[in-house]
């Protein structure tokens, strides 16, 4: 790994002037991200919202090292990102559990790759099975799980690897709203135990405010950060925080921001 140690770096994640351009079929270039910069301190829960196609997923993929920026650089824990690695765990929007492995084996996957001895592996897996309340389903295959359960396994699988940062790309996007609500609560609880730095992408403004310490609102064409909004709500956030006036005010602010984003996909 072409790692450049920058010991002095203060934040866990630094995105510095990152641009991403794709060649278009007609020979031009499409600017998916345009000079995006952001810094996420250790243990912060950062949320990115923005219209479809504004480059949210692209940014996470770059951070994960699954793609390379055309310009700029991304630094995680002082190391410049050049390739994917287990220090940056990711939970994807689609279901990406390995269907041929049981829940336990899925969570174990990264630990095995690392060569962790079986006894220790079992311990770690059991811990995260409990965290996501799936102990009774340890030996089920993914096809026997509901959508919410699958995403819980995906979260446990990413966390079991003890990453320095957890990247989540609309992990609850495909779930129904009740299940989604339960999952948000579960994620908050797990996060408070694990104390990880999280970058969470969502379309759902309620979700963004409920979960985040800070919300980055992006705009499309080209993908840019339009506004950074700190969420001053105290943690742990109560069950009915969504009905609190500060919450509603924040929501209105973000809704307005997104509404007057003129770059709509649909006319």
């Amino acid at each position: 790994m072409g790692a450049v140690n920058l010991e002095t770096a203060p934040a866990r994640l630094q995105v510095r002037n990152v641009s991403l351009r794709y060649p278009t079929p007609t020979g031009g270039t499409f600017v998916a991200l345009d000079k995006v910069s952001l810094e996420v301190p250790d243990q912060q829960f950062a949320v990115i919202v923005g219209p479809s196609g504004c480059g949210k997923s692209s940014l996470l993929y770059l951070t994960a090292g699954l793609n390379e920026p055309t310009e700029g650089e991304i630094v995680v824990s002082g190391q410049r990102v050049t390739e994917p690695g287990p220090d940056r765990g990711m939970v994807f929007q689609g279901y990406t559990l390995f269907p041929w492995l049981t829940v336990r084996q899925n969570i174990e996957f990264g630990l095995k790759r690392r060569g962790m001895p079986p006894a220790q592996r079992q311990e770690v897996v059991d811990h995260y099975l409990d965290e996501v309340r799936l102990r009774p389903f340890a030996d089920n295959f993914p096809k026997q799980l509901s959508g919410g359960m699958m995403q819980r396994v995906a979260i446990a699988r990413a966390l079991a690897n003890d990453p320095q940062i957890l990247l989540m790309d609309e992990p609850f996007g495909a779930l129904d709203s009740q299940t989604r609500h339960q999952m948000q609560r579960l994620l908050l609880r797990v996060w408070e135990h694990a104390k990880k730095t999280v970058v969470f992408v969502t379309h759902d403004i309620d979700e963004a405010i409920l979960l985040g310490d800070r919300v980055y609102v992006m705009g499309a064409r080209p993908g840019r950060i339009r506004q950074i909004i700190d969420v001053p709500l105290a943690r742990p956030r109560p069950e009915d925080v969504e009905l609190a006036p500060e919450f509603i005010a924040l929501k209105r602010q973000i809704v307005d921001l997104l509404h007057d984003d003129l770059h709509r996909i649909d006319p």
Binding site: M90, F92, L101
Partner: protein
């Protein structure tokens, strides 16, 4: 609406599911109809015995050959040819197909020759095989390999190419190296499709048996059917064809069951 007319309606409704018994009954009926048509044509004298043996003729031919143990010997010889050819072909085609499906470059290199060769008539290669390979078991096996290898290669590489890129990305973020991806992700993910491929292609392997046994066979079902042609012993020809068909069905079912057992995790 009466219950009978409702069932009739279901039968006439596109994509309507039917109860298991009805389906099994229809399958049984269909076998009976085939047997009945055969009896009618042969016993009814609509087709002279020289052109179409009666079922009893065929059974008698089978009995005749079974009595002196040669039927088993023929079956054994053919099974050996087909299974050896199929095993060698699969052992080459599966890894190569996985490579083709995984690496665009390998695919680009192999696609042109494979797509050309798989449309060539195996029969024309028999004299060339004699020149190149000889007249032993190897030659017969080579015919089977030639018949199925290229089809398998294309099918396996399609299966592998169909594996979701998300699974691969997920495995990277869990610490997989490039090497691991093939072994721990693309391989297991392709398994159900590979078994389906094997199931279809072993059926095809049987259809090449007669061509394989054109040369220097001294036993085998293809050999006896060729021999029976000289003298127009239609009963033996039918017997050989029927046994080949049944063996084809049998191997097909073996792979069907294997697929269900081994890939219980797949939907």
């Amino acid at each position: 609406m009466s219950s009978e007319s409702r069932w009739l309606q279901r039968c006439l409704t596109p994509k309507a599911a039917l109860p298991r018994q009805l389906v099994l009954g229809a399958a049984a009926l269909s076998w009976l109809l085939m047997l009945g048509a055969w009896c009618a044509l042969s016993y009814g004298g609509l087709v002279p015995a020289m052109f179409l043996p009666t079922p009893v003729d065929v059974v008698a031919a089978g009995w005749r050959l079974a009595e002196d143990g040669t039927l088993l010997e023929h079956i054994g010889a053919s099974v050996e040819v087909v299974l050896v050819g199929f095993a060698v072909s699969s052992a080459l085609a599966i890894p190569l197909g996985l490579f083709m499906g995984s690496f665009r470059l390998v695919q680009a290199l192999l696609d042109p020759p494979v797509n050309f060769i798989r449309y060539l008539p195996v029969t024309s290669f028999v004299p060339l095989f004699i020149l190149w390979i000889g007249i032993g078991l190897e030659q017969r096996v080579a015919v089977i390999i030639f018949g199925v290898f290229f089809q398998q290669l294309v099918m396996v590489s399609d299966v592998c190419r169909g594996v979701s890129k998300d699974l691969v990305n997920a495995s990277y973020t869990l610490g997989c190296k490039r090497r691991d991806v093939l072994l721990h992700v693309l391989g297991p993910a392709s398994l159900p499709g590979v078994l389906d491929t094997l199931r279809v292609t072993i059926g095809w392997a049987w259809t090449y048996l007669v061509v394989a046994e054109l040369v220097a066979a001294s036993s085998g079902l293809g050999y006896i059917s060729l021999k029976a042609m000289r003298g127009l012993q239609v009963d033996v020809i039918f017997l050989a064809i029927a046994v080949i068909g049944l063996l084809g069905l049998l191997t097909d079912q073996v792979f069907r069951i294997l697929r269900m057992k081994v890939c219980a995790w797949a939907q």
